[in-house]
Symmetry: C2
């Protein structure tokens, strides 16, 4: 069933955005009394289209989410690559996405365009959340610097090109008791030595992903796939 | 260093296609005496541009490939999704891609357009092989039916929506001694019951990928990531 997200509950009716109404009426061509699922405050409601309203029929049973929280820290990428990463990371269960500025990022985003970008990125995550039937939408934060990660808590991983790195598998199987994982991915040219040293100093584990040469946008998809697999019941 | 594939060795010179020459001259803007790597018959040669020729300087040391062979059987997908799967599967080490017709495939390809499609798909794999510095190009076969898989040998996996399926992790950790893995992925609507029953009858293990709802093009990327991770040294 088609799923939408709502921010507002009003007298047994859930309020949807005009974009969602456009999708319901024009893209899906739904009619009066057709049913949809609407997520409000991480609860899923079975609803019915009732003229201009979305009427709640009943609340659906909640699936317990025992998953670890995943925070993905990614460099600024060209638009089509960024879109792919946001969509796939959402499908694969990411909780927070932190775009970061790095020394070797090719893509720059001006401060005055940043807000518009974050709105766009959040919309992509919302649509992917609907498609993959999530009950939450990943949070895309403002664009940050690496030193904003200084006080973050959890299992901290940075994808590294160093010699003395260990394999991802060793790190994940050694540290199973964390309920939060933070992963930093470098830009196309990699993180600089200074950046990597800084991350190691604040507690990040440098890991290797094996011998394959992957495009930068493949790395987060690879990592999230592996996390899903490793912590699968 | 930029890498190309050649099919022809002639008097210490490697012959490249006109597309490759276009890439060298116009895209990369390389000049006489610039160096490139050229793969010929799975060997990598350091070469130099010598006017209209590619002159071999020396053969580079070969990396031993102990990896398991991976055969990916995928439904026909819309062009942009197919392209993404071919590119990412190549980056993640696939050896053979078999496009199949299934009952619920939405995309149909006429027999007279099939050859053109396979040439296009092979080109995408070649370009991704160059980018990810592989020494071979995945083989894209003609479009087949499921019953062409009857006599295939190896660890056989089909992504399933059945109740009695087991987790991918159980299958992979139980069957580590195979040197070839065949994975069948269904189309957007899933394989039909008849198709899945047939595959199980010929030895395929139905597996679940967990609770996430992924788009069909995400599934092969997920699976290949997991195989890389599971068999990582």
């Amino acid at each position: 069933m088609q799923r939408y997200f709502s921010n507002q509950l009003d007298n047994n009716k859930l309020i949807l955005s005009s974009d969602d109404w456009y999708h319901i009426k024009t893209v899906m061509r739904m009619n009066n009394h057709d049913q949809i699922e609407v997520v409000y405050d991480t609860e899923v409601y079975l609803c019915e289209i009732d003229n201009q309203d979305i009427k709640i029929i009943n609340k659906l049973e909640k699936k317990i989410d025992n998953n670890k929280k995943i925070i993905l820290v990614i460099p600024l990428l060209r638009e089509n690559k960024m879109d792919l990463v946001l969509q796939k990371a959402t499908e694969l269960g990411v909780n927070t996405i932190i775009p970061i500025k790095t020394e070797r990022s090719i893509v720059q985003i001006d401060k005055d365009k940043e807000n518009k970008k974050i709105i766009r990125w959040t919309r992509i995550c919302k649509e992917a959340s609907e498609q993959s039937h999530r009950t939450d939408i990943p949070i895309v934060t403002e664009i940050k610097n690496l030193n904003s990660l200084e006080n973050i808590d959890g299992l901290k991983i940075v994808c590294s090109t160093r010699e003395d790195k260990v394999s991802l598998k060793k790190i994940l199987t050694k540290h199973e008791n964390y309920d939060r994982i933070i992963i930093v991915i470098g830009p196309e040219g990699g993180l600089s030595n200074d950046e990597e040293n800084y991350l190691i100093k604040i507690g990040f584990n440098p890991v290797t992903l094996g011998n394959r040469i992957m495009r930068v946008e493949t790395v987060p998809i690879f990592l999230l796939s592996v996390l899903n697999y490793e912590y699968m019941e």
